[in-house]
Symmetry: C2
Subunit: 208 residues, 2 copies
């Protein structure tokens, strides 16, 4: 029954070929489908067509897989922020608006992935790749708010107030929206993102 003639190995092999990548894809799909709370390693393996214990060879455990997913999430966020800033106009306020919109757009496009990023009990927060991507995202914000020439200081330093304020404002707004703080109406949420968010950013006294 099984045709073994195909050069491209489509039929199920014992060795998968690139199971690691396949698992990540399954996991991303599962996450998007069911959300963070309903995520399951077994279901991920099932979707990839392998046994429940197969992932262990590529990720130590669920935590390991989720660490990889969170890293991907931070990569995508950092990319989105950098791109939005590169494409934006020259004046600061519109650049701030563009980056805020990019942040919100990313979160609304992949809410489960965005939620995972902040479920720090679920993955390894000290993972070096994850930290790098997270720092890249943060730097993108900081570079815009405090200026490319501003000296790097610890997060808790008073000089960081504008950056953290900007980040907090947008992050908080997005979280409240996704987590039911601003009602459940999807249309109202979209409208809030389009009109309310820029207005809110405009209330912030940022000048560099």
């Amino acid at each position: 029954m099984e045709r073994k003639l195909n050069v491209v190995k489509i039929e199920k092999n014992y060795h998968h070929g690139d199971l690691r990548q396949a698992l990540i894809q399954s996991a991303l799909a599962l996450l998007a489908d069911k959300g963070v709370e309903a995520f399951s390693l077994r279901e991920t393996a099932r979707r990839a067509g392998v046994s429940p214990a197969a992932p262990k060879h590529h990720f130590k455990d669920t935590r390991g897989l989720l660490t990889a997913l969170a890293t991907i999430a931070f990569t995508r966020l950092a990319d989105a922020l950098e791109e939005s800033d590169a494409a934006a106009a020259q004046d600061l306020s519109s650049r701030l608006g563009a980056q805020g919109a990019a942040y919100a757009a990313f979160a609304l496009a992949e809410p489960a992935l965005f939620a995972l990023m902040w479920r720090t009990a679920m993955f390894d927060l000290t993972d070096i790749n994850l930290l790098a991507e997270k720092a890249r995202a943060f730097d993108s914000i900081d570079r815009l708010v405090r200026g490319a020439a501003a000296p790097r200081v610890p997060h808790a330093d008073p000089a960081m107030a504008p950056t953290i304020a900007c980040w907090s404002l947008v992050h908080g707004f997005v979280c409240l929206m996704l987590d039911g703080g601003l009602g459940e109406d999807r249309d109202a949420q979209a409208q809030a993102t389009d009109t309310l968010l820029p207005a809110m950013i405009g209330l912030l006294n940022i000048r560099n």
Copy 2:
């Protein structure tokens, strides 16, 4: 062996007396101990000294219990916000600072309970008591930011920008801090709450 003479029934009865309340207490303790992710209905029952299925009579399921806990959380937050405003000075900026500090203090004092409030997939977001307490908390913020005389409008209304901005800023800051966005150093976090948060609120253009 068992002394039945005590008027106050201390020994273990088949009927617990007030299992509902006991379960809530166990659940709150468990939540504080292990966090939201590690919460378990069976463990809650175990701590209350009853069988795994006992909670069903008082809460339909885990979701039901968590809805009760989230309602308690919103009640406490609303209380804290109202009290802080009642005790604060008269000028707007210090009142804003006080309420922001109260919000942060609540979240830092009970991080797991605070986290639960926004895990909207875990409980019944349409519960009428929960909605009432949540609205009370929101009204406390809105009353301060937009003034007691300001007309009530939908959340997405442009007039809401100051309120949502204020809430988003503080909420986002607290979330970032609890979820590792601002590093893991507890001392730095405490310092950030004391010095950075007021500075950030000061950056907001609020006048009513």
